[in-house]
């Protein structure tokens, strides 16, 4: 890992510790020998209160490429995650995570995770990434909501 990348990721970690929103978590993965892999993080985004996404924390993996922050990190939910803007592989379709759209090197982890939280309850119907959720969101909102609530139970917070 280049020292530039290492410094930036350490800074991300420091800033996250200093200021992260309630209910979110994010930390670098640990290798088998206990050392940290700063390029690969696990994180959790809570569903917003008073929405169909509430009472759950959705797990994410964040992979920072070697040319981060010129290029955005790859942010994924679990494969098969039910959301109109999440690909079957779990990759999230969000403009701030797209190099050709709104990604800027200044965007930090907190902004990314808040962006994902926002996306959960306000899907963008113009950027479908999977068919089932997109179809239900557009045509059968009751079904969509039921499935989201069901999914929320799967990722329910402890207790």
């Amino acid at each position: 890992m280049s020292s530039l990348l290492k410094n930036r990721l350490q800074e991300e970690r420091k800033q996250w510790r200093k200021d992260h929103p309630y209910g979110f978590f994010a930390k670098p993965e640990k290798s088998a020998d206990g050392s940290l892999n700063l390029q690969s993080w696990t994180a959790g985004v809570p569903g917003k209160d008073n929405t169909i996404w509430e009472n759950a924390t959705y797990p994410l993996t964040i992979t920072f490429p070697n040319d981060f922050p010129s290029k955005p990190p790859k942010v994924r939910l679990p494969a098969g995650f039910y959301h109109p803007n999440v690909y079957p592989s779990g990759t999230i379709c969000l403009s701030i995570l797209n190099e050709d759209q709104d990604w800027r090197p200044g965007i930090n982890l907190k902004q990314i995770l808040l962006g994902v939280q926002e996306l959960l309850d306000t899907p963008n119907p113009d950027s479908p990434a999977q068919e089932p959720a997109w179809r239900a969101f557009g045509k059968d909102r009751a079904l969509y909501e039921k499935k989201v609530i069901e999914q929320a139970k799967k990722y329910a917070k402890a207790g």
């Binding site: 350490q10 970690r13 309630y22 329910a156």
Partner: protein, 1010 residues
């Protein structure tokens, strides 16, 4: 509301005043819109002047005048000529009134200072006023008189003492100095070095002089500190954006002096916040010598006195600010700090920091210091993991001392935070607990993260300590709860366990640690039980790594018993418990085989009790079936499966009978029915044969295969019948899309299986789908039926599956296409989703059994016509699917040589020309991002049919060219060259893409795009 065409100033003033006092938002909007037109009009500048220069104009209108100038400068509605003098005149007039008449117009003055700065950033000033300070000083010098007299010849240096000494002028200059640079920070676009150089050369010397003089002489201290803050931000900004460098070292001794000597709490706060910001954002502004001065200050009694003072006054905000300052200072060079802090020389500093962390009183509710110190310790621990080598090098011969002392200190820190996160009665009964509960939980999670880092230094000693707390007879329930919380957090990182760790956990089970928490929690008031049991369950869910290493049934038995007990006792935790049971059953299925009978009572309860949460019920069924799947005897698996299916059957029968006899189910009954159907799906998923079985346990795999291949029992019929009774026997259930989707999902799960209770005959699947299609609400269920057909083709046409059952016959394929596509073609045509699914179905067919199309001309015609038409669609996902279809169609697999010849003939005689034309037409009409999809088809046409493709391309291009001309469009130039160029690509996808993209740009008039 009507507005005058050519308003007088008085009319404008009354409108402006109305705008600021009006409450009706529509009125405000219409006045605003009218006034904005005036501001941007040729009169705007004149209006601004009139409003600003006239002392009788109300303040709101004066401010409006200043705003009008901002708009005129920003939109360049004025030019630089005369602007600077005009701004000076207005500022002079405002300041004159401010000083002479004590008019409270400073907000207008500030706006004008902003305009002044904006003008210097936007226009080139006249030669005599190149220095922004010169013109401003000229204004100030003229404040004795009502008339502004600008004299650019008098030297500015002489004016400086006067600016500093005159109290009123001093304050105005401070405001000017702040305002002048403030907007640089907002206006990110303007980083022209010349502008910043002017600031450095012309304004900075005055600023520095004023700061040192004011702060040393206690003149306008608060305003000076505020100006200082703005300038620090500006300097950081400039140093990042440009090559300019500032030396601020004269400021620090003065600032330290102020901080140390002031008795004014407001000044202390300003100083503390200001210095914290510098240390956090740009510590390099402070050189080593001054850092030592700060260090000396923070190591002196001053700091202890301050802390004592804040404590006595219960001024927690100031205490937090002070802690932030210390942390920011210490973190400037964490590596250096880590190498020194744990030496004997700095033991008092270390003790001070440990004591600060252990600040008395309830965390979050009463003190935030321990929360702030989390960040500090985490940062320090990072050094020990991420930069260990550098730390050792830096510590040199002191490393052994650093290592020993740091370990001792980290142990103390772990103890402190362990106590801080306990759910003590004092905390739970605290008057602020309800409001700050979330923040406290967040604090706990952060402590969990700190323990992850502490573990890297303290290793299993840390884990062992926590484990001994949960295993002990003497520890309190709060201590146990905190330990479980931390053990769960630590365990979530483990993927395997070494011997020592295995023994620590084994000891816990040997001590029957779960009995302890059960007893202690049961003795609590029922409202508190869930709170204290929560993390014991979470901890058990994280023990997968342990059970992989330790195959003791007894331990798992304890876990399952505890969780089942919890399911009955801790109602709020049901979801967590059922998820935990599922995780354990999934990962420890082999070890749980001997306990299978123990699951039965709970399973019966879950299935038959309609008040159980559906999710809990479904997950428990899944869990049990994971264990059933691991039973070593296939016939036992069948028996258990039959029992579970029988249990669902018996439970659902009264409901389904009620529904079948025209009785509508209530919402609760419907939810219960859906959950029972979902349970069948969970049975199917739980029984799925794991991918690893064939490789890892061939004997078991063969036994299972042999059992099910020779199976003559009725389980398949029973399951089929049961599913159908949910969705085919009552009209309103058939039209419930949630039920139908779930029923379809069960068949889809079964299709993937080669054998087993859910591996249905293809004909059974087709019959079910056919029957359902006649009864369901097609607008909602057809997509799922098409998905089922896709899965059917993907599995039923696979040669690998032949050993288990006959592949789908041509008649069955024709049936599927007729029933699910042809019969509903009108519905499909209207819906892009259904179109996409249909094309995917066709792709599955073309990939699985292309020869079918050679012998079924009707189906071929239907499919090809539809796929050709879809090339003109605009939806990206449809285009993607149809391109995938044609790619498969042009390069069919699994065909004999004879069939390949027939296939080529089919394309070259019938389909090729039309396909080429439709592809190119679709491509020219689509958006740029879709061109690649089309070019992939063209490249394959060229690769597979090189001779014919060139002719098809030429003909198609000519035809399209004529069509375009007929529509008054530009047409396609150099068509022959293009088709030749395409031909010589020999079907290279990349080259074809480039050529077609360029042509697309030309045709669409976008060839100027790079």
């Amino acid at each position: 509301m009507e507005f005058p065409q050519d308003p007088t100033i008085d009319q404008l003033i009354s409108l402006i005043e109305m705008m600021y006092t009006q409450h009706d938002t529509n009125e405000i909007k219409s006045i605003q819109s009218y006034l904005q037109t005036i501001q941007k009009s040729a009169k705007g500048y004149e209006v601004a002047d009139a409003l600003l220069l006239n002392e009788d104009v109300p303040l709101n209108s004066q401010f409006f005048g200043a705003l009008t100038l901002t708009i005129n400068i920003k939109l360049s509605l004025v030019n630089g000529e005369g602007l600077f003098e005009e701004l000076a005149r207005c500022i002079h007039s405002l300041l004159y009134r401010n000083i002479r008449y004590k008019m409270n117009n400073i907000f207008v003055v500030k706006k004008m200072f902003q305009n002044y700065s904006l003008a210097y950033r936007t226009f080139e000033p006249p030669a005599e006023w190149l220095n922004p300070l010169a013109l401003f000083i000229a204004v100030l010098r003229s404040l004795d008189s009502q008339q502004l007299e600008l004299d650019s010849s008098s030297p500015q240096n002489e004016a400086i003492p006067w600016l500093v000494q005159n109290q009123a002028i001093n304050e105005i200059v401070l405001t000017f100095l702040s305002t002048y640079v403030e907007d640089f920070l907002k206006d990110n676009t303007n980083s022209e070095i010349l502008i910043h150089k002017r600031v450095q050369n012309d304004i900075f010397p005055l600023w520095k002089h004023m700061m040192t003089t004011n702060l040393s002489n206690n003149v306008n201290t608060k305003a000076s500190l505020k100006t200082l803050t703005t300038w620090f931000q500006y300097v950081s900004f400039v140093q990042v954006k440009t090559t300019l460098r500032y030396d601020l070292n004269d400021i620090w001794p003065v600032l330290i002096e102020v901080l140390q000597c002031t008795t004014d709490p407001e000044i202390t706060t300003l100083c503390v916040e200001l210095i914290t910001e510098v240390f956090e954002d740009n510590p390099l502004m402070v050189n080593y010598q001054h850092r030592c001065q700060f260090d000396a200050l923070f190591s002196s009694n001053w700091l202890l006195d301050k802390i004592a003072e804040y404590l006595n006054n219960q001024d927690f905000d100031s205490l937090n600010n002070l802690t932030s300052l210390i942390i920011a200072f210490l973190e400037i060079d964490s590596l250096q700090l880590a190498s020194k802090l744990f030496t004997a020389e700095q033991s008092s500093k270390l003790q001070f920091l440990v004591n600060l962390t252990n600040f008395p009183s309830v965390p979050i509710m009463e003190e935030q210091i321990s929360k702030q110190m989390l960040e500090f310790w985490s940062q320090l621990l990072d050094i020990f993991t991420d930069d260990l080598e550098s730390l050792k090098q830096l510590s040199k011969q002191e490393w052994p001392e650093v290592e020993t002392n740091s370990r001792r200190a980290f142990l103390s820190i772990s103890q402190i935070y362990f106590n801080k996160i306990k759910l003590t009665p004092e905390l739970l009964l605290h008057s602020d607990y309800h409001d700050n509960k979330r923040e406290f939980e967040s604090f706990r999670v952060d402590v969990g993260d700190l323990f992850d880092l502490l573990y890297t230094q303290l290793g299993l000693d840390l884990y062992k300590g926590l484990a001994s707390t949960v295993g002990s007879f003497t520890t309190t329930v709060e201590e146990k709860e905190a330990s479980y919380f931390l053990l769960a957090s630590l365990s979530s990182n483990f993927s395997h366990a070494n011997d020592e760790l295995v023994h620590i956990i084994m000891d816990l089970f040997e001590q029957r640690f779960l009995d302890r928490i059960t007893a202690q929690v049961n003795s609590l008031d029922s409202s508190k039980r869930d709170i204290y049991a929560r993390y014991s369950i979470k901890f058990l869910g994280e023990l997968g790594f342990f059970f992989k290493e330790c195959e003791s049934n007894n331990y798992l038995r304890q876990v399952i018993d505890y969780l089942f007990h919890g399911l009955k006792t801790y109602k709020m935790l049901n979801l967590t418990i059922s998820k935990t049971i599922m995780e354990i059953c999934d990962s420890c299925r082999l070890q749980l085989v001997d306990n299978i009978n123990g699951f039965e009572p709970m399973l019966v309860e879950m299935i038959t009790n309609n008040t159980v949460d559906p999710f809990t019920r479904e997950k428990l069924v899944h869990s049990v079936c994971c264990v059933v799947q691991s039973l070593p005897s296939a016939s036992n698996q069948e028996i258990y499966t039959t029992n579970i299916i029988g249990m669902i059957e018996t439970t659902s029968t009264p409901l389904l009978m009620k529904a079948g006899s025209n009785g509508t189910l209530t919402d609760d009954e419907l939810t219960y029915a859906l959950s029972l159907l979902t349970c069948i799906h969970e049975v199917a998923k739980g029984l799925e044969i794991p991918d690893y079985l064939e490789e890892d346990n061939e004997e078991m795999f063969n036994q299972l295969r042999s059992f099910w291949m020779n199976y003559s029992g009725s389980i398949h019929t029973r399951i089929n019948h049961l599913i159908q009774s949910f969705v085919l026997q009552a009209d309103h259930l058939s039209r419930n899309s949630l039920l139908t989707e779930r029923a379809i999902a069960i068949y889809k799960t079964g299709l993937v299986e080669d054998f087993g209770p859910f591996a249905m005959k293809y004909q059974d699947v087709i019959s079910f789908a056919t029957d359902l299609s006649t009864k369901c609400d097609l607008s909602k269920t057809l997509p799922h039926l098409l998905e089922l057909c896709i899965a059917l083709f993907n599995c039923g046409l696979k040669s690998k599956k032949v050993q288990y059952q006959e592949p789908i016959s041509n008649e069955q394929i024709t049936w599927v296409i007729r029933v699910f596509v042809q019969s509903h073609f009108d519905l499909i045509k209207e819906d892009p989703d259904l179109i996409q699914l249909t094309v995917t179905l066709f792709s599955a067919l073309t990939n699985g059994k292309p020869s079918y199309l050679l012998y079924e001309s009707k189906a071929l015609q239907l499919i090809v016509e539809m796929a050709l038409e879809l090339l003109g669609y605009q939806e990206k996902f449809v285009i993607k699917s149809v391109a995938k279809f044609w790619n498969g169609f042009l390069a069919p697999r699994k065909v004999t040589e004879e069939q390949q010849i027939a296939w080529n003939k089919l394309i070259e005689v019938d389909i090729g020309p039309l396909l080429t034309f439709q592809v190119l037409r679709g491509m020219f009409e689509t958006t740029r991002s879709n061109v690649d999809q089309y070019s992939s088809i063209v490249s394959l046409l060229i690769a597979k049919h090189p001779l014919k493709a060139q002719i098809w391309i030429t003909d198609s291009l000519n035809k399209l060219h004529n069509e375009m001309l007929g529509e008054g469009k530009k047409g396609i130039e150099n068509r022959d060259i293009l088709s030749k160029k395409l031909a010589i690509t020999r079907g290279s996808q990349r080259k074809c893409q480039e050529l077609l993209k360029d042509t697309w740009k030309e045709v669409n008039g976008l060839d100027w795009i790079g």
